[in-house]
């Protein structure tokens, strides 16, 4: 087990280097000159030259790449160009708001989609199944944007069930007052694709021989479904949740912008609009790291769910 983990971690190194290289090349060769962005509109050539020297931009590309690598290894990203805030501080302060919204979304999505999908897969081909599939197709075709616009208007403005938008310093108030509306809307949107996907997993499992065997030896349908089918379908479901997990750290950009939630997603978008390169670079590299670690954890979780899995 430990050998496996070490091997996987070692394999991450080239990928991570690739991510760093990609980010570096993208900003170095295609991005506009940071010194011009930093100096502002009324800068003299001397000022620009001074900033170039300060940032090391007058060095050859490989030296700059080395500096970039050292920054990453030391977790030192310097300050945001726009606000002079430490990038690490910025991440630490924005992360809680993102998690307050995104964790409930992921948990509710999974808790709701799994039983619904198992239910419709069980009655495959029936009117309920077909109606639900048509409903999800239509639901999927409407843009997420329409859901949040209409949802905010109806639930927040017209019915007044939730505050239209806002955020407070207290996590409890945020969880009970401000996040329910975005969570509700995101779950409404996420449920359709999840249900369709999980349904296909369950259908796949229901067609296997072991299900017939289980029924033949007289097990009740409950045992067949919940002990046999559900457990076997857990692997693809886990993969899917694992794939969605890194997303909760950046959050849904759309939700955070729309509901003015001071999370990481909104901060990164702001950085994109301000050409605030350190923030974007840091977000990209760290999220790649988190994604790879979560993939590893997902693979380890397979072992827990299915003892037959051998980790190689």
């Amino acid at each position: 087990m430990l050998a496996y983990v070490i091997k996987r971690l070692w394999q991450m190194v080239p990928t991570l280097l690739g991510v760093v290289l990609l980010v570096f090349c993208l900003f170095h060769f295609f991005g506009s000159d940071p010194s011009v962005i930093l100096a502002g509109q009324n800068a003299t050539p001397e000022q620009i030259a001074a900033i170039r020297q300060q940032l090391g931009l007058d060095q050859p590309a490989y030296v700059q790449f080395w500096i970039f690598l050292k920054q990453i290894a030391q977790f030192d990203w310097g300050r945001s160009w726009a606000t002079q805030e430490q990038v690490s501080h910025l991440f630490a302060t924005r992360m809680p708001a993102t998690l307050t919204v995104m964790l409930p979304i992921l948990i509710l999505d999974t808790i709701l989609a799994v039983p619904v999908a198992l239910g419709v897969a069980y009655v495959r081909g029936s009117l309920t199944d077909r109606a639900l599939m048509v409903a999800t197709t239509v639901a999927l075709s409407i843009s997420f944007l329409v859901y949040v616009i209409v949802g905010q208007y109806v639930f927040g403005f017209q019915l007044g069930w939730f505050p239209v938008q806002g955020w407070s310093a207290s996590t409890w108030v945020n969880l009970t007052q401000y996040s329910p509306l975005p969570v509700l809307l995101a779950v409404m949107v996420g449920l359709s694709p999840q249900t369709r996907l999980y349904r296909s997993f369950f259908l796949d499992e229901l067609g296997h021989d072991y299900v017939r065997t289980a029924r033949a030896k007289g097990l009740t349908e409950d045992v067949v479904l919940f002990k046999h089918v559900l457990r076997n379908a857990m692997i693809p479901i886990l993969t899917n949740v694992g794939l969605a997990l890194p997303g909760i750290f950046v959050g849904s950009f759309l939700i955070e912008v729309f509901f003015s939630i001071p999370g990481l997603g909104r901060e990164v978008l702001l950085a994109v609009n301000r050409s605030d390169y350190p923030v974007i670079q840091a977000a990209t590299v760290y999220l790649a790291m988190i994604t790879m670690l979560i993939n590893l954890l997902t693979d380890l979780a397979y072992k827990v769910v299915d003892p037959r899995v051998t980790l190689r």
Partner: protein
């Protein structure tokens, strides 16, 4: 092999013909196909300037409602009742006004200019937006841009994914390892962040959106094409082609590619739907279509502030256009998949 022998053998139906037969039998798929075709005709008409070429003209009063609702009451239009009750008598200032001597000259000059009084409509077929532009025209023009972005970026992503997938699957070895590494790098970064990073350096505009979505969205297709090429490259017909001296390029793109093209087509149609949705979100976030052009995304972005004032028609029109097109296109793509690649049936 003798040509006459080949001709004499009963010709089996090709993959495309059997697929077409299967597709024809799928009523849902056919209906969806007809709807998509109608949209494509509309887009062709809009692109050639037959319809909606004047979408930027301000034809009506701001936020004019749809015709079925009838014109809005005066106070809703922003005219306050009783505002005209207190009119002060005009005061003669001509003795102290330094500009007074020239008023007559200016009035004469103004009289020589042509001055057309435009009558702004009170209602339009599907209402008007904040500037009085026709929502229906905007929706048609927006369809053109949104579908254009979706299709073009899907084509770009497909090209990248197919070429890289073919190389990785066919050659394997060092090339394969390198491309796998590239794939790992691209999938290690969450999609939306990758899009943002590209947007940060590439700027804004329709062409940029196509480029961003294409450059970031090829990974899924790459994976599938690679798997297909690995499967096919060892098959007998490919070895036979090698034996008669076909170059690697010819074997990849003349022999194997036609045999996996159905997989690629299905994947590409799924990409179109995804990219159309992405364009909407990107445009809302201000990273997509610029404001002097119209797409479903920019329409929805405008609609947010209109809805709060009760002007729901732009939102409804854009959402309806998009929902109908995307539903029809996904149903058609599903039917294509079932017809072309029965093994994939039921998969998402």
């Amino acid at each position: 092999m003798n040509v006459s022998q080949v001709a004499a053998a009963p010709r089996s139906a090709g993959v495309w013909l059997t697929a077409w037969r299967r597709f024809k039998g799928d009523r849902v798929g056919m209906t969806a196909g007809v709807v998509v075709l109608a949209f494509l005709l509309l887009i062709a008409a809009a692109a050639s300037g037959l319809v909606a070429s004047q979408w930027q003209r301000e034809l009506a009063v701001p936020n004019a409602p749809p015709t079925v609702l009838g014109p809005r009451a005066a106070e809703d239009a922003g005219v306050m009742a009783g505002a005209e009750s207190k009119v002060l008598p005009p005061v003669d200032l001509s003795d102290i006004d330094p500009l007074a001597p020239r008023y007559k000259e200016w009035a004469d000059r103004a009289a020589t200019m042509r001055n057309t009084e435009t009558v702004k409509a009170d209602t339009l077929r599907l209402g008007a937006d904040r500037l009085g532009r026709d929502v229906l025209d905007k929706a048609i023009k927006g369809t053109q841009i949104s579908v254009f972005v979706g299709v073009l970026s899907a084509v770009l992503a497909t090209l990248i994914g197919t070429v890289l997938g073919a190389l990785a699957g066919f050659f394997g070895g060092k090339v394969g390892d390198f491309l796998e590494w590239l794939y790992n790098v691209f999938t290690a970064i969450p999609d939306i962040l990758l899009i943002f990073a590209f947007a940060a350096v590439l700027g804004r505009g329709v062409g940029t959106v196509v480029l961003i979505l294409g450059l970031t969205g090829w990974t899924g297709l790459y994976r599938q094409v690679r798997a297909e090429f690995i499967k096919h490259s060892g098959r007998e017909y490919v070895r036979a082609a090698e034996a008669i001296g076909a170059s690697p390029g010819a074997r990849m793109f003349r022999h194997i590619l036609p045999n996996v093209s159905h997989v690629i087509l299905v994947r590409m149609s799924l990409l179109v739907v995804g990219f159309i949705k992405s364009e909407v979100i990107l445009s809302y976030l201000g990273l997509g279509v610029p404001i002097d052009q119209v797409s479903w995304g920019t329409m929805l972005a405008e609609a947010q502030s209109e809805l709060i004032l009760g002007y729901w028609w732009q939102l409804a029109t854009a959402a309806a256009f998009m929902a109908v097109f995307v539903t029809a296109f996904s149903l058609m793509a599903d039917a294509w998949r079932d017809a072309l690649d029965p093994k994939l049936r039921g998969a998402e």
